[in-house]
Amino acid sequence: MKREISVLMDGEMFEDEADVLLDKLKRHPEADRDWAAYHLIGDALRQPEHVTSDFMAAFHERLQNEPVILAPRRRQQQRIKQYALSAAASVMALALVAWLSMQVGQEPPPQMASVQEPNMVRPVAFHASDYLMAHQEFSPSADMQGAATYIHSVAAK
């Protein structure tokens, strides 16, 4: 299959043959590596200064590090949901929803407690800067860092 991939990349394959090969590639994920390797070889021959052999790995890592938005439930939204349902549903359904919301409670969802990685966490929102500013007034490390501490309040979101 390696030879076929090479032929395809060189643009020397007939269309119907190419379709068959592409189908094969889809079914054999292990052929992805050959596909990437041949492209890397091609790139290296053409412009060696731009070669990145671990693009997929780097991309995968960056994707993993993207912040996950953990949007907690808000009281108000919950209430709106209840109203919407009560308009449409029977008294039984309303009772059920009320019961469920009591079970859910006002606490943040439990997965919050297990969040450990700082880069999985939401960036600080604007109103949070109020707490940050108030906090910094009394932080000894802020005392040593001077104005640089304000970076926490103005860092890009």
């Binding site: 919050m112 500013m133 108030a134 040593m144």
Partner: protein, 331 residues
Amino acid sequence: MRNQIAKVGVLFALLPLWAAVAQADPLLDDADWLRTMAFAAHETNYSGVFVYQAGGRVETSRITHVVDEHGEHERLQGLDGQRREVIRNNDQVWLQLGDKKVHFEQQRPRRAFPALLPEQIQSLKENYNVIQQEEDRVADYHAHTLLLQPKDTLRYTRKMWAHSESGLLLKAAVLDERGKVIEQYAFTQLQIGGEIECKWAVPSAEDAARLARRKHLSPLPNNNLANVSSGWQVDGVPPGFKKILEMSRNMRDKKFPVVHIVYSDGLAALSVFVERATDADGYSAGLKSQGAVHIYSRLSGDHLVTVVGELPPRAVIQVADSVRYAGDKDE
């Protein structure tokens, strides 16, 4: 230049012993370094560009700090993306994000000197191993390196690079227990002393007018800094953290005063805010973070508890989860 000479003069007059030691820096003790750094952050005129890196993001800012007969002025300008700026004139702070400009009034007038109290240094040494490391060079300045290694995993490790002559912090990094950098910043270009442009230090007419209107309405509640008991109990504070103060303060856009309790281990600080939660507040529960600072909010009955600290997330969450109302003990 004359200003600079005057400054050096003041330094010598105030701290004959200390300044003398600073000249013979190999003998400078760790605590002296910490004190020198805190002193330099407030008393040095400087302007430069620094790079801040946290959570895979890198950004550049310009920082300017000037001390004159009117006090301390500092400005932080984001150089990338949308307009972001902080200007502080003594206890008045303006924060500008995009088109939005917000004014803050600092509750604590900056202590003149020393910036770090002896008991803070002592508590810091109880919780961290302070290690002087190899000398280095940052932004073309000779620097001394200080490693502050926590004695447990409930706080972060810090590494600091201080300018060998002035003590100004040139570079700082916060690391987790595995040695991974949580955030760091470093000057890439820096001017210490000399002529520094500071027209911005004069508040704009608009700001001045706003201040004039506000001044009589909300005088700095210095008397609030005294220890008051709010009845709120925080049991989950990591070992080594001591309560610095407890007060009731007004905050922007809040109808009711907010209880603010501050703890510190000598280096990191932990703030606990407790306020009445009303539906209109639009609060959001959960964990947010900016570099090494984490904010965690949760509802406790009718109250919103918010904990802010330069501590690992689990420590911040642990503290927030332990906040409870124990009633008015004084009554």
